[in-house]
């Protein structure tokens, strides 16, 4: 059963279309991430689910109950949608203590005083902020503020959590810590979660499913693994993964029953299938990730090393042949140096082919 359902949702600001005819269903208990570059409509989508924005047209429902539909005259305001929202800026009330920040929403629901206190204590415990209840937001670090915002959202015990880039204001270290906190929390509470981010690593690490958006449209909706291994189109291929996927323009040709991907600079042998789904001679783009290429030093090799960028756990090596740049990732450090000549071996199973015109995955 799907928890949240978006049907033909469109949002226009004047002449600008922020979200265009979007269909999406989010399953009960799912952790779904809306991923995309800034201005792709992901935050607008989240705010429409929350009721902070109204769709220009389309229908929105939750648990089979319609939340928004202009046609049938239904508009359920945010406070009646039973959801929690975490803002990028945390939106903590600066003039209230941590306790008050968490309890204010509960107080309006006519919950008994001692029950509220108990709840505040429990959620602060959960986000590891025991004993901070009398502090003001300005007396907390960024990470602690973030936890208060999280605690406030949890305290309401809503069935749906909406999060708008909650980690983007934290420094890199804290962000990694908070990711595992969030993942743990989701497992414990099992609330249906919609998470917005432009950080593909965050999306890959946290989500059950990722919806990649661009210019108000869904580019692909898939589990992280599928999204990474078989990007449905060039946009997703380019957007997900770091370093960026290698994209080579060329065509498939066959020589004596063997297939090759070729362009003026490179020639990559392909799996010896009986036939290839890609018609030989057709102009296509091949995509292969940097970790699916291995590299060996060979003074008479075809490729020259353009740059070597060691980063501790891995080293990114950029090689060049003719006009073609290829990025290779190796683990740890390497003895290879700039201007060394090398050979490349491509993992045949991991190559994807895209139509040059439609930019869609062929195989």
């Amino acid at each position: 059963m799907s928890k949240i359902e978006l049907k033909n949702i469109t949002k226009k600001y004047g002449k600008v279309t922020a979200v265009s005819d979007m269909d999406l269903s989010i399953n009960e208990g799912e952790f779904l991430t809306l991923l995309g570059p800034s201005g792709c409509g992901k935050t607008t989508t989240l705010r429409m689910i929350a009721g902070l924005e109204e769709p220009t047209s389309g229908e929105l429902s939750s648990d089979g109950k319609t939340l928004f539909s202009r046609d049938s005259g239904i508009y359920v305001p945010p406070e009646k949608r039973n959801l929690g929202f975490m803002f990028q800026s945390y939106a903590l009330w600066p003039h209230m203590t941590v306790r008050k920040n968490i309890s204010l929403g509960l107080e309006t629901r006519k919950i008994a005083r001692d029950l509220i206190n108990e709840k505040v204590r429990r959620v602060l415990d959960k986000v590891q902020l025991k004993g901070y209840d009398a502090r003001y937001p300005s007396e907390l670090s960024g990470g602690q503020q973030q936890r208060v915002a999280l605690a406030r959202m949890i305290a309401a015990e809503s069935a749906i959590f909406l999060m708008d880039e909650p980690l983007s204001n934290l420094d890199a270290m804290l962000r990694v810590d908070m990711r595992s906190e969030l993942k743990r929390l989701h497992k414990e509470l099992n609330a249906t979660s919609v998470y917005v981010t432009h950080d593909q690593v965050e999306a890959l690490t946290l989500s059950d499913r990722i919806v990649v958006m661009n210019e108000g449209m869904i580019m692909q909706s898939a589990a992280p693994e599928e999204l990474y291994l078989k990007p449905a189109n060039l946009f997703v291929a380019k957007f997900v993964g770091s370093p960026r996927i290698n994209l080579l323009a060329g065509s498939v040709s066959s020589e004596g029953g063997k297939y090759y991907f070729k362009n003026s600079d490179v020639s990559i042998p392909l799996n010896s299938l009986d036939s290839t789904p890609v018609p030989p001679g057709k102009e296509i783009i091949a995509g292969i990730r940097s970790e699916d290429i291995s590299i060996t030093k060979n003074d008479s090799g075809d490729y020259r090393i353009y740059s070597v960028l060691p980063a501790g756990s891995e080293t990114i090596i950029n090689v060049i042949k003719g006009e073609t740049h290829i990025t290779v990732k190796v683990s740890g450090f390497t003895s290879l140096a700039m201007d060394n000549m090398v050979d490349l071996v491509f993992n045949r199973d991991k190559i994807s082919f895209y139509d040059r015109d439609t930019e869609k995955l062929i195989y």
Partner: protein
């Protein structure tokens, strides 16, 4: 159709900003747009006053009579052209002088190593707080001559020199007195602007090989141009529209400006002609504002530059330092110390032009009614009228302050939450409209509009409520502006997160929005209080004996040549205003607020 209605009603319930904007549109239409339309309508119809001038005229019938009279008859010269040119002359002269003084002072305090900066900066803005016509009162005390029948001023009385008319009354003293008030506007705006300019920008120019004057003209000047533009518009529109000073110093020699001419006409019930002149004043103000917006509007962004790596390098004055210090001290003596001391001194003088010590008396402060002195007016402390006026003034100030502060914040909320919609623009524009109405004309319209009951509102003529209403409406431009800027500083997610949690609007407003806007809210409140306290031209037509205010009492004592009473009441007014200002400084960080509320 039914679904549509259902959709919008359910939406309305959860969107207070939409309900508020509907209310504001309706209320503003009634309080601002209707009066304006009525004003135009009055100019196009015969009024009862006109019946004896035009044979066969019928009250309320359409006519261009007033326009013909004002712009194309033998009255044109005396009733339109002369006051018009006087206003322009006064406005432009005042503005030039005020801007020169204000800019120089701003530069001196922000950019040089002049000593005792803090002290001077506080003193120098005193004229901004007190009513503009207080300086005119003081001027009379010094420079009045005997020719118009009044008592002689200090100079004539002590030295026997008879001051020539041009220095006692009319153009010259009006310009001087107004310039000595309005320089404070330029000063505040310019010091704000100068403070945001990184002196590295100027240093970069000098490294680039520009001379001092080239730096001034090519770098500094363009950067402060927006502030200069605002100062110009503010000063020119206000000095052309002001009533008190031209009334005190101009009327005795029949030197009319548009506002005093309007006052004279409306006082004699000649509404039609008065409103034609009011329209002229409105058009003039609107013209100056739109010219400023055209020329400078696009450059506004300069002012809001980030002060990143900000560094201000004060210029060394060197030998000029002691000299400028002396000039400043003399300026302050003449501007603030002498006038106030003189006002105070005069209240102890039994005969107004006898400066000997034997002439001193406490009568005007504590004396019982004595028919031989001041037509029997008792001293200030025993004077029921003055005590009543003080209470009225404070009451007016407090009510207006509270109402305006709340309205301003609600308007700010509505405008900011609806940002980007037509509705939001309309509300913002209409709330600003009272700015261009000359106070005299505005009160004249209210007078005629509320002299009978309108809808649910009973006839308000002669009531205190009418004065409260007009002061609130006239202050809307400032309170809505400060409300908008206060609301812009509150991140919208702070309220959204509350509304998602189901916290109702009233509670959100009280617990979240209000506390977050507290400092702007409080300073806006006190500023409105001060403006209301010193209001004269807006209420002069509306007061009745039971609703007298301090300002109108000063004016009427002055016209009855009871100088001691008038000056004593002025001192009381100044005392209250200065106390309110002290309060403002204690309550809020003043630096940012002063410039903001200049609009």
């Amino acid at each position: 159709m039914q679904q549509k209605i259902q959709f919008y009603t359910s939406k309305l319930k959860s969107k207070p900003e939409i309900i508020l904007s509907i209310i504001f549109v309706a209320v503003f239409a009634f309080l601002i747009v209707v009066p304006f339309v009525q004003m135009i309508y009055t100019t196009l119809t015969y009024q009862s006053y006109d019946l004896r001038l035009e044979r066969g005229a019928e009250e309320g019938a359409f006519t261009l009579f007033h326009y013909k009279r004002m712009f194309g008859s033998d009255l044109t010269k005396s009733h339109f052209l002369k006051p018009f040119w006087n206003s322009i002359k006064v406005g432009v002269s005042v503005t030039l002088i005020a801007m020169i003084i204000g800019s120089l002072l701003a530069w001196l305090f922000v950019r040089t190593d002049i000593p005792y900066r803090k002290f001077f900066q506080t003193i120098i803005v005193v004229p901004y707080m007190i009513p503009s016509w207080v300086i005119a009162l003081a001027w009379q005390l010094f420079f009045q001559n005997t020719r118009t029948g009044g008592q002689a001023g200090v100079i004539t009385a002590l030295f026997g020199i008879n001051i020539p008319d041009w220095l006692s009354y009319g153009f010259v003293p009006i310009v001087i007195c107004l310039a000595l008030h309005y320089y404070s506007y330029t000063f505040l705006l310019m010091s704000g602007a100068l403070r945001t300019i990184d002196s590295e920008l100027e240093e970069a120019g000098s490294i680039g090989g520009l001379t001092r004057s080239q730096i001034l003209m090519k770098i500094t000047f363009p950067l402060v141009l927006p502030a200069l533009g605002s100062s110009f518009v503010l000063t020119v529109t206000r000095s052309m529209g002001t009533f008190g000073t031209p009334a005190l110093l101009g009327l005795p020699v029949r030197f009319f400006t548009i506002p005093t001419q309007i006052y004279a006409m409306i006082n004699s019930r000649n509404m039609g002609d008065g409103f034609v002149l009011a329209l002229v004043l409105i058009i003039l103000a609107a013209t100056f504002i739109s010219i400023n917006n055209k020329i400078i509007g696009v450059r506004k962004s300069f002012v809001t530059m980030k002060g990143k790596g900000f560094r201000s390098n004060p210029m060394k004055l060197g030998k000029l330092r002691p000299f400028l210090l002396v000039v400043l001290l003399i300026f302050i003596l003449c501007l603030i110390v002498f006038p106030i001391v003189m006002l105070a001194w005069s209240t102890f003088m039994l005969l107004p032009d006898d400066y000997s010590f034997s002439n001193l008396t406490m009568h005007f402060w504590a004396g019982k009614s004595d028919a031989t002195i001041a037509s029997g007016e008792p001293g200030v402390f025993l004077n029921k009228g003055i005590i009543g006026g003080t209470i009225n003034s404070i009451k007016l100030g407090v009510i207006a302050a509270v109402v305006n502060a709340f309205l301003g914040l609600l308007i700010g909320y509505t405008v900011v939450k609806n940002r980007g919609t037509k509705l939001s623009q309309v509300i913002e524009a209409v709330a600003f409209a009272p700015y261009v109405f000359p106070s005299i004309a505005f009160s004249a319209i209210y007078l005629s509009m509320f002299s009978r009951s309108v809808g649910p509102i009973p006839a308000l003529y002669g009531t205190f409520s009418l004065m409260v209403l007009i002061v609130i409406v006239k202050n809307l431009p400032f309170s809505s502006r400060s409300g908008i800027s206060a609301m812009l500083q509150v991140d919208k997610s702070l309220e959204e997160t509350a509304s998602i949690q189901g916290i109702p609007f009233m509670k959100r407003f009280r617990l979240i929005i209000l506390p977050l806007c507290k400092s702007g809210f409080l300073s806006g409140m006190i500023l409105t209080f001060i403006t209301a306290m010193r209001e004269l031209s807006l209420v002069i037509l509306l007061v009745t004996p039971s609703t007298r205010l301090l300002t109108t009492m000063i004016f009427s004592y002055e016209t009855q040549e009871q100088e001691q009473h008038s000056n004593a009441v002025t001192l009381i007014l100044l005392l209250i205003i200065i106390m309110a200002n002290v309060l403002i400084k204690v309550l809020v960080n003043r630096k940012s607020e002063e410039t903001m509320n200049l609009g």
